[in-house]
Amino acid sequence: MKLLNEKSKSGSSSFNVSLLDIQTNIPDDLQRTDLNLPELAEVEVVRHYTNLSKSNFGVDNGLYPLGSCTMKYNPKINEVAAKIHEFNIHPLSQHNKGALEIIYQLQQILCEITGMHAFSTQPAAGAHGESTGIMIMKTWLEKRGEKRTKVIIPDSAHGTNPASVSLCKFESVHVKTSLTGVIDLDDLRQKMSKDVVGIMITNPNTLGIFDENIIEITEIVHDYGGLCYLDGANMNAMLGIVKPGDFGIDIIHLNLHKTFSTPHGGGGPGSGPVGVTKELEPFLPNPRIIKKNEKLEFEQSKESIGKVHSFYGNFGILLRAYSYIRSIGASGLRDVAENAVLNANYMKERLKRHYHLPYDRICQHEFVIDDSLMPNGVTTNDIAKRLMDFGFHPPTIYFPLIVKGAMLIEPTETETKENLDAFIDAMKVIKEEAEHNPEKLTKAPLNAPIGRLDIVRAARKPKLTWHST
């Protein structure tokens, strides 16, 4: 499709602005002489983006089983809630009681769901929550006057975990995954020392397995005086079933855009609130929103890591998450976990007849299969591209790194059994095609808006704007 600048026609923009008869105070030599933005009639703008949207696939289009991303249905009522006129106020307005109430209530609800003592909603995304959590570890360490340098991360972790650790100038130490798909306790014991600040765990982990040794793991880390961080990316499987605070977690981040149904927006905005134990509460980002004498107010803590966002985080996303939680209530939250886990296990059991399942055991909200049984050199990437032709978004591929050719599948609770069956059928057909007609797969997608893209070329000679040649 043509680019905006290729459609631009001088003088065609119709979005008029009337000026006043007032001289500017800005000297000429500080002003720009031309403004090179594309010019399109309003109807052409709308058509441009409407047509672009047609070559996009969202949850509203179909099953989107992108593992560890929890692509559940985003209820439309949340969008209505987020656009209530009175909520759109300036962050420094004094007339903010309603906004503060939403944030405060959400903090309380997240505490109840996770078993943590206090939450900050400032972090704008999961990775932002991670770095905030590691900053809390660092500041806590400084306060204790200790020098520790290492953070333990399982080899199945999201790549953002080690990157967040590096941001805070700690060193990542990796622990192995055992043959049954959980943290190798012997390896963990071996790597623990008084130089370890803490551990970053994902549980259920990125293989979709709830680590049955979780209590032992957090005890080992605590015995050495370390802290336990939980990457809450996979909280969807635990809602109303188990609270991370009960298994020894000191710091957690949640992804409101995953667990609490706020739309992913093509990459964001998300929200990554951080929760902590009572001991760590003073280290949460400033300002906190607290209740004092029945009144909500901002509070600055001297021990805080400081501010991590221009204002108070992604309020528009907090509103949507609040709306979601209130609309489904306590029993609805438990329903979410039960059905997410049910759907994943159902798919896993049916797919393992056709695909290799490296960890054959009960899973939580997601599971991993791989391409090791595929004939004729057909790869995970080929399977992913072919799935598009059947009207599905592919799963997360080549992650976690510990499974070669991994496909991480997370159907979520909002899919019907019919959708799951259709996906399973498509996977069966793909397996048969791999045997009899592998070319169909290596050329896939065949019906997508565009053919398979040359990713290597994009990186070799990057063309990142319409100006570059």
């Binding site: 000026l19 309003e42 996009n56 007339h95």
Partner: protein, 429 residues
Amino acid sequence: MDYTPNTDKDRESMLREIGVRDIMGLFKDIPEDLILKSPLQIPDQLSEFELLRELGKIAKKNKKPLSFQGGGNYNHHIPSTVDAITSRGEFSTAYTPYQPEISQGTLQAIFEYQSMICDLTGMDVSNASMYDGATSLAEAMILASRIKGKKQVLVSQALNPFYREVLKTYARANEIKIVDIDVTDGLTSDFETEGSSAIIIQNPNFFGLIENLDEIRKKAEDILFITSTTEPLSWAMLKPFSEYNVDIVTAEGQSFGNPMNFGGPGLGIFAVKQAYVRQIPGRLVGETVDIYGNRGFALTLCTREQHIRREKATSNICTNQGLCALAAAVYLVTYGKNLGKLARLNNQLSVCFAGKLSQIEGIDPVFDKPFFNEFVVRIRKDILSKLSDIEIGISLEEYYPDLKDCYLVCCTEMTPKEDIDRVIYEITQ
């Protein structure tokens, strides 16, 4: 409400297929004493109309008086095209475009966003956006100290105080030393570059004033020049940063089509010179071709990123503010060249308001310098009490003890002349 479509019958047949007797059989890996015995203490579910009633009640506790607050978050009109486009589920319910063949909508829109940010700033490369203005700037600080190898940066005190706090947080974590540069008469004062990797200047600065970027660049020729902007509408009127040889441009892009929303979500703009393209944090969209030779777009230069580089990545950021960037793109192309006029109108209204206020006894302009759409005035306390139902600006005393009784006042197209006249009337009647 309930968004889990499985019927009891579905659940039964699925459990049978799995081979477990009941749903709790699926949670057998969880140590039994951890399983919650009672329901969460959260109010029960609500129907749509009950929920809206409840939210409406809370919303009404906010009030929206006439306001002249800016300082990092601005009340601009959002063209109707923006909501119409960003509400489309194909855009809003997609995720990071990992699979480009079914994400061309997001990818092309971001490519066009990157291009228009370069149009406005004159820079060579823009990333796909970041969390907000403050964190974008923090990432720029970290990038500069990494490539220059000096763990010290110069930061103007005329930078938004919230941004300075965020920089402090990141600097502490990343073990960077911040050296403050004083402000003289509203503008960044003299500084020494020795030992520093970069200088950070806001333009227009927190007081709304236009900094002398030419002079700053000359004095800082041996270090990186990083700018921050909280009101990028000013870019449509001012000379682009490339003309001052700026290395890294960061900004809060909320003004471009995103509501105030109590401060978030924002849109972190991040643009650099070509030389730093392989060091840049965040997502980048690039042009390529498909196997048939058709033009297409994909995420690129991913070897900078954490899913490949892990602890050696240029940043831990793995997403962008996709929908906010889309809103900005629709906003920019809806206005097109008329964005220059909109900027001019904002400036005119501010000049008008500043002029009228300064004629009132007891109100004094604090800095006599060119500004874009924000300015500082000192208001005598008895006058202020007449404005109890108007938010006249942001009180500066908390952040700058010298600026007692001073307010940062902002005008946009949403505070037309009638609003300005109303304030003058309330004061003078």
